[in-house]
């Protein structure tokens, strides 16, 4: 019965499964979401959505779904004959409420004002105390507070409070396509943890000690194990300067988050694209360059390589020798990138540019191809995807 809503949610990539849908139906069967749209909304959200990041998307879809019914009514709204309105109102209003209307000056007066307002009003209106529309305190329109309100375009009945919760979209800032803060980045990076016992044995292995003591017929036999720590090694390469200036804050946040998360973290800077040299201190970029070859030799292929850059430049800077804007490069940037990728099978490119621009910028397209599509936007969900990619085993 709510299959349409269910599939709309799936289409909007809210992760709902059949289990959740059946739970929803089970709840409806047990009369949990009784008779009001509000209750239904709350219950549907409770059973279908499992993360507050999807609340906003759910609100939008839910709104759309129920707006569909309403929109049809809104369209013919201007032409509604008074008789029809009266009839609808009589259907929806209880006896007491009708009496209240009478007390407010009678039906005719109410209709008169409604007509006037209809003329004043052009656009869809929401909130406010005067106009017709949804969620207001006007005597007209659906889901208002006013007890003598005329309910127009509200599918089914019996509401008491009803501001349209889903229309408020309170959860907008929880959607994960928005930019990230340091803490968020840390959260995302936590997934890049793989604990392993390495180094000197200095922790008492209680279980091991007990079992070996028991095997030893009760004579104490102490076992030690090395401490667990994050065994992931990360090599971070930042694009710096030029078009990256727009994204400095984001990159700073990413950088400070990664620095505290990893024991084995090495970082280098580059400008626009990878060439034969990298540097660690941006102020001394010309004096203190590390040859890219040395980096590849020094850090083993168990390092995970993360590029951070907008990859926005002239395509020549990637594909031609001598294309670099800063110096004469003997070999094309693409060659150097390929070398790095050969050494480090686990590599991703994080791009702070919005994903919509990628298709339109040729240099981003080229870089993405060189990375065999392993380019991700610098958002929480992008970071998640990137980390999943990094943790994949090589075949």
């Amino acid at each position: 019965m709510f299959l349409e809503l269910f599939f709309k949610l799936r289409k909007a990539e809210v992760p709902v499964s059949i289990t959740e849908y059946l739970t929803l139906l089970e709840g409806l069967d047990k009369n949990l979401a009784g008779y009001s749209v509000d209750d239904f909304y709350h219950f549907a959200r409770l059973s279908l959505v499992k993360d507050e990041r999807f609340y906003d998307r759910f609100d939008v879809i839910f709104g759309e779904h129920f707006q569909g019914i309403k929109a049809a009514l809104d369209e013919i709204f201007g032409e509604i004959p008074e008789e029809w309105l009266r009839k609808q109102a009589e259907l929806f209003l209880s006896k007491e409420e009708m009496e209240q209307i009478e007390a407010m000056g009678g039906w005719d007066e109410l209709m008169e004002t409604l007509k006037k307002r209809l003329e004043e009003q052009k656009d869809r209106h929401q909130g406010g105390n005067k106009m017709i529309g949804t969620a207001g305190r006007s005597p007209f329109g659906a889901q208002g507070y006013n007890p003598e309100g005329v309910r127009i375009g509200q599918e089914k009945s019996r509401h008491r409070r009803a501001v349209k919760v889903w229309d408020k979209r309170e959860y907008k800032n929880l959607d994960d396509s928005v930019e990230l803060g340091t803490r968020n980045i840390k959260m995302a990076l936590r997934k890049l943890r793989k604990f392993a016992r390495q180094g000197a044995a200095e922790e008492l292995d209680l279980d091991g000690t007990i079992s070996s003591t028991a095997r030893n017929a009760g004579l104490l036999d102490i076992k030690m194990v090395p401490e667990r720590h994050n065994a992931i090694k990360v090599l971070l390469m930042f694009d710096i300067g030029g078009s990256m200036d727009d994204h400095v804050k984001l990159c700073e946040e990413l950088f400070s988050a990664t620095k505290t998360e990893f024991k084995h973290l090495e970082y280098f800077y580059f400008h626009n694209f990878l060439y034969e040299g990298l540097w660690k201190d941006n102020r001394r970029r010309h004096a203190d360059k590390t040859p890219t070859m040395d980096v590849m030799h020094k850090y083993g292929s168990d390092y995970k390589l993360i590029f951070v850059g907008d990859a926005t430049m002239s395509p020549y800077e990637i594909t031609y020798a001598g294309g670099s804007v800063e110096h004469w490069n003997e070999e094309a940037g693409a060659v150097w990138l390929q070398r790095l990728l050969d050494v480090y099978p686990h590599a991703v490119w994080l791009n702070p540019e919005p994903e919509v621009r990628w298709e339109r910028t040729p240099s981003i397209k080229i870089t993405k191809e060189l990375m065999s599509d392993r380019m991700y936007p610098l958002t929480i969900s992008g970071l998640d995807e990137a980390i999943k990619e990094l943790l994949k085993r090589t075949h």
């Binding site: 739970t23 949990l32 499992k50 507050e52 959260m187 007990i210 003591t213 028991a214």
Partner: protein, 291 residues
């Protein structure tokens, strides 16, 4: 059907959607996962639900070292080993060394109890997965004694999370999920009323105004939450500060009294003071604007 419903208590204000969440979890016997900003009363919810349903609350606080099986039972091998060396008679029955966990306790209870699994995200990433079967079927197997412990009454399981780790999909699918959003002004008023019924109306509205203004300050590391507001009001009452003193209109007194209760972070206090200072300068300039 003797279905008891939860509608909030005299010391806890539950919004409509929260009430719905608790009642749905009660009716359909599914665990309820609660998330929300710190200080919005996630843990307290379990206490209040237990109180409202007049049943006992079993609390299981999760730490980073907590393992799933600790909630079921633990086999105390060390004492058995010791007893065996002392020649104690107890040692022959392994059941003497099985220590019951919180889940076992909840399953055994005659009345439907409320089980709180607090801050599940603190535990290891695998922790929720290890509890799937137990929470789904509400039974588990004790290997040492070869018995099956099944719940006499399916307890109401309330799980809280602070979002430090993402929970696995399989786990989420079995739960109801509710996010406690930050209360709006009218709900907040109700909450304060419940805690301080004798509070003067004007002081309350002034305090709420200041409180929401402070929350609006951009760049705060930790926004003050409900529990901080309640603390602050407690202080205001103790100091007997009249409502007029909270007025933000007077630029010289723009920093609210006792703001230390609201802002818990040195940087936040500095940021706040700087903003207030800037504001004051701006309004001072506005005042001397020559015509």
């Amino acid at each position: 059907m003797t279905q008891s419903r939860f509608t909030g208590t005299d010391s806890y204000v539950a919004t409509d959607d929260l009430t719905m969440a608790v009642n749905a979890a009660l009716t359909l016997e599914r665990p309820l996962l609660i998330k929300g900003e710190p200080g919005t009363g996630k843990t307290q919810l379990a206490e209040e639900v237990a109180k409202a349903l007049d049943t006992n609350l079993i609390q299981w606080h999760i730490k980073s070292t907590t393992k799933a099986h600790q909630g079921l039972y633990e086999y105390d091998a060390v004492s058995r080993l010791r007893d065996s060396q002392l020649g104690d008679e107890k040692v022959h029955d392994i059941a003497n060394y099985i220590v019951k966990g919180k889940l076992w306790e909840a399953f055994e209870s005659d009345k439907r109890s409320v089980l709180l699994i607090d801050e599940i995200d603190k535990a290891d990433i695998e922790f929720p997965n290890d509890l799937l079967q137990e929470l789904d079927k509400m039974e588990f197997h004790v290997y040492e004694t070869k018995q099956v412990i099944a719940a006499r009454q399916r307890p109401l399981v309330i799980i809280t999370s602070n979002n430090e780790k993402e929970l696995p999909d399989a786990f989420l699918r079995r739960c109801f999920f509710h996010y406690i959003s930050f209360p709006d002004t009218s709900t907040m008023e109700q909450i304060v009323n419940v805690h301080f019924p004798s509070l003067k109306k004007d002081l309350l509205s002034e305090a709420l105004k200041v409180f929401f203004d402070v929350r609006e300050v951009p760049g705060l590391k930790k926004k003050p939450s409900t529990s901080e507001l309640l603390d602050w009001i407690k202080l205001l009452l103790a100091e007997d500060i009249p409502a007029e003193e909270l007025h933000g209109d007077d630029p010289r007194k723009a920093i609210p009294k006792l703001h230390g209760a609201l802002l818990k972070n040195e940087q936040d206090v500095h940021l706040f003071e700087r903003l207030v200072f800037l504001n004051r300068k701006k309004s001072a300039q506005g005042n001397v604007d020559p015509r």
